[in-house]
């Protein structure tokens, strides 16, 4: 065989290819080209693994800020912030009782940017709790839980529980006084079924409370085993659970037809300006005009996107970017003006006085100050069950997608808010002024106190009121509106009392300046 004649062709081509590398890398990364036509805007969405969870086109109503207030996305933004800052904190945090407190101190005072990172982590976690609760309220008040979204409502409740679990497990990690006593109280709430089993005298044979506490702490005292368990939950188990639930949650939004909207949304939108929408029959290069060509005049879709939709790129993504940036801005601003707290090193023989849980658990703490089991396990379980049942009991269609939609509407919500605020205020005032059963009858059996205390009475009042709503308006939705509004108001009142009006020994004080020296 004769060797090929020596030319420079291959070499020239090689050099050309080399020169073209940056351009080709760009072209193969952004395959669709700039999103300037409907087709490339579509490719922009479904050609991208992170964006393709969105639909290619978005309904115009879903983009109005009053539709969702962006609350779900704010929760996601706050979660992303906690995820990023959390991983950064893991560089320095040491999950051992001897080292944990010092490592948090190092992060706060020594590690470059550590203080800001920790503050952002703490504030983003707080923002996430707020936005998750508000997002649930939005989904409830717009009746977004109705068919076919029942399942996603349940997933959302799972997300709420995991979010609160993440906040609580994170609370322990600094191993300061606040952390140590919060976890002691938390573990004993897990043990509180003993309040009932003890009263029935069956604890020796049946002790779910003791088992729960043992599983949580890994020991019979709060120590290294408990810290490593809470660390594992906080950085691994719960975030993974949250990520899995979030994936299902977002995917179900697509599968359930996007953001909920009222049946007449399209008719109402048609009256408004048309020039927001990008027409489908425009310069899209591969679009065939076969049908249009044989029809005289314009088809009904010319000049208007189908079903009142606009391309997700740019409309939806710019809106989402705005919400993400707004949330980041809020969290970082809060982190700059307010430091995350760090009390003294944990001291197992002297509790903080008062020992307060994080603010979103202070309503619970107020309830456990009447009965550990009912306040810590019984009533939260009833509330979660009640919330989970709402989509299965309300099978109506009136008012879906409307704010405060359904029989009764806004006036009913207003009335429920008044009752929801007054009931806990009255019951608390009575209990604070006159005491409760144990003060009047010192030998009263514990089961009576467990069953009849301010927290259970409040729950009963709310339940009876919502049954009255069902009867009054002949509608399960009205009952749900009453119950959910009461639940939010009760949460608010109890949280405020626990935060601002409870001092040392959990005694009522009008102001922290009245607290005695101790």
């Amino acid at each position: 065989m004769t060797p090929a004649p020596v030319t420079n062709d291959a070499l020239r081509e090689f050099v050309q290819n080399l020169k073209a590398v940056p351009r080709r890398v760009y072209e193969t990364t952004f395959r669709g080209g700039p999103p300037t036509t409907d087709r490339t805007r579509s490719t922009f969405v479904f050609g991208n693994v992170f964006l393709h969870l969105h639909s290619v086109r978005t309904h115009r109503r879903s983009l109005r800020w009053t539709t969702t207030l962006g609350l779900g996305l704010m929760s996601l933004a706050a979660f992303l912030l906690t995820l990023i800052t959390g991983v950064m904190l893991m560089f320095y945090y040491k999950p051992f009782p001897e080292a944990a407190y010092d490592s948090i101190k190092d992060i706060h005072f020594v590690v470059p940017t550590g203080r800001l990172i920790r503050n952002i982590h703490r504030w983003a976690a707080n923002v996430m709790v707020v936005t998750v609760i508000l997002h649930m309220a939005r989904a409830f008040y717009t009746a977004a839980y109705r068919k076919p979204r029942e399942y996603n409502w349940l997933i959302g409740m799972g997300l709420l529980v995991v979010t609160l679990g993440l906040s609580f497990t994170g609370y322990l990690l600094p191993w300061d006084q606040l952390a140590y006593w919060a976890i002691t109280i938390g573990a004993n709430i897990a043990q509180s079924p003993r309040e009932v089993t003890d009263a029935l005298g069956i604890t020796e044979n049946f002790d779910p409370g003791g088992l729960q506490r043992l599983l949580l702490l890994g020991s019979d005292t709060v120590g290294a085993e408990a810290l490593i368990r809470f660390y594992l939950l906080h950085v691994m188990i719960l975030p993974l659970a949250l990520a899995a639930l979030m994936a299902v949650h977002f995917w179900r939004i697509r599968k359930d037809g996007g953001i909920v909207r009222p049946a007449g949304a399209d008719a109402r939108l048609a009256k408004t300006r048309q020039d927001y929408t990008y027409p489908v029959f425009t310069e899209a290069p591969n679009k065939t005009y076969h049908l249009a060509a044989i029809v005289r005049g314009k088809t009904s879709a010319v000049g208007r996107g189908p079903e009142n939709t606009v391309p997700s790129m740019p409309h939806l993504f710019y809106a989402e970017l705005g919400v993400l940036m707004f949330t980041f801005l809020v969290c970082i601003a809060l982190a700059l003006v307010s430091d995350a707290p760090l009390k003294e090193l944990a001291n197992p023989s002297v509790p903080e006085n008062p020992a307060k849980a994080p603010w979103y658990f202070l309503g619970l703490q107020e309830m456990v100050s009447f009965s550990a089991f009912m306040g810590g396990i019984g009533i939260p379980t009833i509330v979660l069950l009640g919330l989970a049942l709402i989509p299965y009991l309300d099978r109506e269609t009136e008012g879906t997608g409307e704010w405060f939609g359904g029989p009764g509407g806004w006036p009913l919500v207003r009335l429920s808010a008044v009752i929801g605020l007054c009931a806990p205020l009255l019951i608390e005032t009575f209990a604070i002024r006159f005491g409760w059963l144990r003060e009047w009858f010192p030998n009263i059996p514990q089961l009576v106190v467990t069953l009849i205390n301010p927290a259970t009475i409040l729950t009963t009042v709310y339940a009876l009121y919502s049954i009255w709503c069902v009867k009054r308006y002949q509608s399960a939705r009205a009952g749900a509106l009453g119950l959910f509004t009461c639940f939010l108001c009760g949460f608010l009142v109890l949280t405020i009392i626990g935060t601002y009006f409870r001092g040392p020994n959990w005694v009522f004080y009008w102001s922290p300046s009245d607290w005695p020296e101790h």
Binding site: L214, S219, E225, P348, V368, P504, W506
Partner: protein, 161 residues
């Protein structure tokens, strides 16, 4: 009732369930069962079999000057020791409500977390605590007291010095 004997099936007739399907299905279900049992067994993992907690027994000597009826709290322990006219006794200071450490005072004990109050003998006087504070086992050998936080005794059990 008459027994009707089934006609003997020819080996050429197809099985009611084809043999391969039967083998496949039974192995599938066997695997599922094994997995379920394995998972149930693994669930025991987080339940600690040995509790790595410090000894609950400890020795102390009471201060000579401890007045009658005043609590002595050994450092680092959640116990209040009393010297009465008729003997020595120890009351646990771990609140039976949610495990905070109660503070002894002349009227008894008060809990900082949720406002439970106890009488000097440990009985609940107000607040959410479901049980009285337990009395702990005290034994005297020589001049030292041994207190066992893991062993409770009926209220009123006092030990003579």
């Amino acid at each position: 009732m008459t027994l009707t004997s089934k006609p003997e099936r020819s080996r050429l007739d197809p099985d009611p369930i084809p043999r391969r399907d039967w083998l496949g299905l039974s192995s599938l279900w066997a695997m599922a069962g094994a997995l379920v049992f394995a998972l149930l067994g693994l669930l025991k993992l987080p339940k600690a079999a040995v509790l790595a907690s410090p000894s609950k027994k400890f020795k102390i000597t009471l201060p000579e000057t401890l007045p009658v009826g005043e609590a002595y709290v050994p450092p680092g322990r959640s116990v209040a020791v009393y010297k009465g006219a008729d003997g020595i006794y120890a009351v646990s200071t771990i609140c039976t409500h949610l495990g905070c450490v109660v503070k002894p005072n002349p009227e008894g004990f008060e809990c900082p977390c949720h406002g439970s109050r106890f009488l000097p003998d440990g009985a609940v006087s107000r607040g959410p605590a479901p049980q009285p504070l337990p009395w702990l086992k005290v034994s005297i050998s020589g001049g030292a007291l041994t207190i066992d936080e893991g062993a409770t005794v009926p209220p009123g059990t006092k030990v003579q010095a």
